[in-house]
């Protein structure tokens, strides 16, 4: 019997995926130099021969100097570089003592925000929301290729197709059309051109609107037909094609409800080859993230409106990495995202269109990723960490399943990248984006199985009600240590979490539900953030406390026994999966014995409770 109970608990744990049991311990070293050049500004004392004075200064001091401008021999303002190995303080002290120098100070870089001259830029509220004007000062995406896997882009004059005017001057890599199997991925729908515009619309060209990474190179790849539909095989092919042709960022503003192993592998391949894969979460307005966004390795983006709240159409769920402006036209079209695209009824005709959708949110993140690569990020992990750190700083609320780490903040992300070289705590990676298929993927898949059901709402309510009635009944009858509903409830609570519970909107009730929807050992992460788990939560400590309660309070005994055994199953899965991300225990050689010893203790507690129940 007990074996059966344990086996069942283990099955549930693995089945529900216990999303947090196996996050990848990502430890890629980050080597980003803070980009300051340690320059000095010097003003020379008045002299008839300022040029001669500067030459003398240059000869006498280890620093090298030049006049700031052609007027230097009249103004006496010069610039200097620090000598190798000396500090700013040393240089300032020595130069202040030099008789030729009137004033010396560190050169202060003064940046005015970059405000593009595109006439309809003022309508792009979304770029203000993510602080593009500060961000453009630091990066424009030069040298980075962004693949837009979509309906194509209006990027060339070919046959009936015309390049839209506000992409003149944007740069393009060779692309491919997987719908027609040609080398001409022109847009016959309008979706892809709009998405591409958000990423790299020609900017500061006095025409139309701006784009986020306007110096980046767009790679047009067509996988969706004129109706905006395509299939998973073409998309898998397209991902491979893009990566093999040099794309460092892939944007996929598309999705479907069914998982495909081929597409999942393609996403994993892209990330392994160094590309950031950005995907729209979906527009179903419910707690299920569409594929490919839900695959491990993809950056799933939900959408917010002007106010920064989740847009009503946006999907959400455990895989959401961050949110970005996707527009919300419920108060009028200007709440949408404005870019240039084509008129779907005449692909040669350009129009400016306000669109809304997670399709519009994803390219904001893809553009930001291109900026981060161009600002010196070397790996997808670095880009993603900077994206999450920037979003998190802006929101200061930690991770949640609606907005992920928060709303994209491009300026803060660039700053986070620059700060990364400094010592201090690093932002954690999202718990599921880099999990294995048995983690987030399976958890999402099991949730999806229920939710794909047409009557999924009813089914969830029925399950929850059944469980509640069962527990109530067994508390009265006090079933003696059998596989009753009370024991089952305890098992579920600790091994898998009550993931099938219906979710109300917001507030304290929803927060508490969020807690019991995840396995009990992971409550620590819910309380303290989704980083590594505390070893005390991944131990027999909680079961010990609950077993004590169950020992003396008869009515709760079956539930507590279930909790202990479920806990053991959870720890067992954690040890078996080989990557227990437990803080202070970086080594498996320490962590796995810890888990196994505590697993044994949990089983002992559970057994003691069941025995006591049978004897009473």
């Amino acid at each position: 019997m007990r074996k059966l109970v344990f086996g069942l608990a283990l099955l549930m744990t693995v089945g529900s995926g216990s999303a947090w049991a196996r996050p990848e311990v990502s430890g890629e070293a980050v080597d980003v130099r803070a980009g300051q050049s340690y320059e000095l500004a010097v003003s020379l004392k008045p002299s008839a021969d300022l040029a001669g004075e500067l030459r003398a200064l240059d000869d006498a001091q280890p620093e090298s100097f030049i006049f700031n401008s052609a007027d230097g021999d009249r103004t006496g303002v010069a610039l200097g570089d620090l000598a190798p190995g000396e500090t700013m303080a040393q240089a300032l002290a020595r130069l202040r003592a030099d008789p030729r120098v009137d004033v010396v100070e560190p050169l202060v870089a003064v940046h005015a925000d970059f405000v593009p001259n595109d006439p309809r830029y003022a309508e792009q509220w979304n770029f203000k929301q993510i602080h593009m004007e500060q961000a453009w000062n630091q990066a424009q995406g030069k040298g980075v290729t962004v693949a837009v896997i979509d309906t194509g882009i209006a990027y060339e004059d070919y046959g009936e197709f015309r390049q839209v005017p506000d992409l003149k001057g944007s740069s393009f890599a060779k692309g491919y059309n997987f719908v027609a199997d040609t080398a001409h991925p022109d847009d016959d729908n309008g979706h892809g051109t709009h998405v591409a515009g958000t990423i790299a619309q020609a900017t500061n060209n006095g025409e139309g609107v701006a784009g986020i990474a306007f110096a980046a190179t767009l790679m047009p790849i067509k996988v969706l037909n004129a109706d905006g539909a395509g299939n998973s095989a073409d998309i898998a092919d397209a991902i491979h094609w893009a990566v093999d042709h040099g794309a460092q960022v892939i944007n996929m503003s598309l999705g479907g409800g069914a998982p495909s192993k081929i597409m999942a592998r393609a996403v994993a391949y892209a990330r392994k080859k160094g590309a950031v894969v950005v995907c729209a979460a979906g527009n179903m307005g419910r707690g299920v993230v569409e594929y490919p966004a839900a695959y491990p390795g993809a950056v799933a983006v939900s959408a917010v409106g002007r106010g920064g709240a989740l847009a009503p159409y946006s999907s959400y769920g455990p895989q959401i990495a961050l949110a970005a402006p996707g527009g919300d036209k419920s108060q009028g079209p200007a709440g949408g995202i404005l870019q240039q695209t084509i008129d779907p009824s005449d692909p040669a005709k350009a129009v400016y269109a306000y669109l809304q959708g997670t399709s519009m949110a994803a390219p904001h993140v893809a553009g930001a990723a291109a900026l981060l690569f161009s600002a010196g990020a070397k790996t997808p992990a670095e880009v993603e960490q900077a994206l999450f750190a920037g979003a998190e700083q802006a929101g200061k609320r930690g991770w949640n399943d609606r907005l992920g780490y928060g709303v994209l903040d491009v300026a803060a992300s660039l700053q986070a990248l620059a700060d990364h070289a400094k010592p201090g705590p690093r932002p954690e990676m999202p718990k599921v984006a880099f999990g294995d298929a048995a983690g987030g993927g399976a958890r999402a898949a099991s949730a999806r199985l229920l939710q794909a059901n047409a009557a999924h709402g009813l089914a969830k309510f029925a399950l929850a009600l059944l469980l509640a009635v069962g527990v109530a009944a067994s508390l009265r009858k006090r079933e003696r240590g059998t596989l009753g509903p009370a024991l089952l409830a305890g098992l579920l609570l600790s091994a898998a979490g009550l993931w099938f519970l219906p979710r109300p909107g917001a507030g304290l009730g929803a927060g508490l539900l969020g807690l019991i929807e995840i396995p009990l050992p992971d409550w620590g992460r819910w309380l303290f953030g989704p980083g590594r788990a505390s070893p005390l939560f991944y131990s027999a400590l909680i079961p010990f406390g609950l077993a004590a309660v169950g020992y003396f309070w008869k009515a709760s005994r079956s539930v507590m026994a279930g909790v202990c055994i479920g806990f053991a199953a959870f720890l067992g899965y954690c040890a078996w999966s080989g990557a227990p991300a437990i803080s202070f225990m970086p080594l498996r050689i320490v962590a796995i014995p810890w888990l196994l010893v505590n697993l044994g203790l949990c089983l002992l507690f559970g057994r003691a409770l069941l025995r006591k129940e049978r004897l009473s």
Partner: protein
Amino acid sequence: MKLSGKVERVDLGMGAFVLVTDGGERYELHGGDRGMKKPGQRLEVEGEIDSSAVTSAMAGPVLRVTRYRAI
């Protein structure tokens, strides 16, 4: 499979036509012809769910319509 419900145009991305069934489920309509895509119209639709389909509107499971009838 056979479904009946009301046709709606959802404003997501470039826009999409969906069938909202009497049970409240939403399917993205593909296949069929232009006559099918009239907002407000009630339809009885024959077709299959295409689980390999991926769309830009992401408005629901793709229903490939083979035959439809206004009701």
